[in-house]
């Protein structure tokens, strides 16, 4: 039963991702690999769209992946799955707010959890780099280290990085500019 499976998988993601929307990304990558529901490439596209539409990124991603897997009912089930653990946990915590914040064991656990969450996102980012900037297939086919990197993509990444440092626009503008550059310079070929 695909709908129950979606609910269950997204409830797990809601339960174990700490630190906001982007923290769900490594879990989604893992979900795609283990189920074959979507490719790394498709997930990176979905992340770009989730960043460019209104609403929380994590919720948008869940809705998008759910829709991709099983259409509108899938979108509903994935989103409900994602928010169910949050609701349960927050309902409990809100009863004992002050104690939770001061609890030493909770503080210690989060001392370990936060860098782990950062590490997971970094690893997921590395996964996206390997499909969008690196050309590992070309490299292993030819053995030429110069062919390991798509230099055009790398140049775009460096330009975007410095542009984002310089001007604090919303990510949606950088995504839109990238799309135009991609069309003008035929990035897909």
């Amino acid at each position: 039963m695909i709908y129950l499976r979606l609910f269950y998988e997204f409830a797990k993601i809601g339960l174990f991702s700490v630190g906001g929307g982007m923290a769900t990304f490594p879990f989604l990558l893992d979900l795609g690999k283990s189920t074959g529901w979507f490719t790394q490439q498709e997930l990176a596209n979905m992340l770009a769209i989730s960043e460019s539409t209104p609403g929380a990124i994590g919720v948008n991603m869940a809705t998008y992946v759910g829709f991709h897997v099983a259409s509108l009912p899938g979108a509903v089930m994935a989103t409900l799955g994602l928010i169910t653990p949050s609701i349960a946990i927050v309902v409990v915590i809100s009863q004992m707010l002050a104690r939770f914040q001061k609890n030493r064991m909770v503080q210690n656990a989060f001392y370990g959890l936060r860098p782990a969450s950062t590490g997971l996102i970094a690893a997921a980012g590395f996964g996206v780099v390997s499909i969008s900037i690196l050309t590992i297939n070309e490299f292993s086919r030819t053995g030429n280290p110069l062919l390991l990197v798509d230099w055009r993509a790398l140049a775009l990444a460096v330009a975007l990085f410095f542009a984002m440092k310089k001007v604090k626009w919303h990510p949606v503008w950088f995504i839109a500019i990238s799309a135009v550059i991609g069309i003008l310079f035929h990035f897909g070929s």
Partner: protein, 178 residues
């Protein structure tokens, strides 16, 4: 208007107005929840937001549940959260249905190939930002590095690394250093 309906509609509006989620949501929450509806004080909102960041799940969802709970108990928490996620169902579904029909066009492929490069940079920036607040000393750096390498080069579920990191945090008793 019954407060439950008001909770649903207000959080739906917040869901539409927030672009990017998380931190982008804070100024809108301040205006709608603190100044307009007076459902929570400024300091309470800051508390909810801080706890929302360090409890599992999406920060925006956690904050909505907190405020809903405060006003109308568990039902309020559920209703506020459903309100928040409701607009995404329409917007994302429409975009996904649209894009599915155009995914094979060469221009769309070209656009997304470059957009994925942009996604790399966005994730990189998110890691830098999160790293500044989460990597505080040698131990947290070591946890970051181990999780990064293990998650990159083994196919084991991230859930295991999250659990181990929480246990490591408890054993190292590092919470006071934050």
């Amino acid at each position: 208007m019954p407060e439950l309906v008001d909770l649903f509609l207000t959080f739906s509006r917040i869901g539409i107005l927030t672009f990017g989620g998380g931190y982008a949501m804070l100024p809108i929450l301040q205006r709608e929840i603190v100044e307009d509806k007076k459902w929570a004080k400024e300091s309470e909102l800051a508390d909810y937001f801080a706890i929302g960041q360090c409890t599992p799940g999406i920060i925006a969802v956690n904050t909505a549940t907190f405020i809903g709970c405060k006003r109308r108990g568990i039902v309020g928490g559920v209703v506020a959260t459903l309100g928040l996620v409701f607009p995404a169902l329409f917007i994302i579904t429409a975009i996904a249905a649209f894009l599915n029909n155009f995914a094979e066009i060469q221009a769309v492929k070209d656009a997304f190939a470059a957009v994925r490069v942009c996604v790399c940079v966005l994730i990189f920036n998110a890691v830098i930002k999160l790293g500044k607040s989460s990597i505080k000393d040698h131990i947290t750096f070591l946890i970051f590095l181990c999780v990064f390498l293990l998650a990159s080069f083994t196919g084991i579920s991230p859930i295991l690394w999250v659990l181990l990191a929480a246990v490591a945090g408890i054993l190292m008793k590092g919470g006071k250093r934050l």
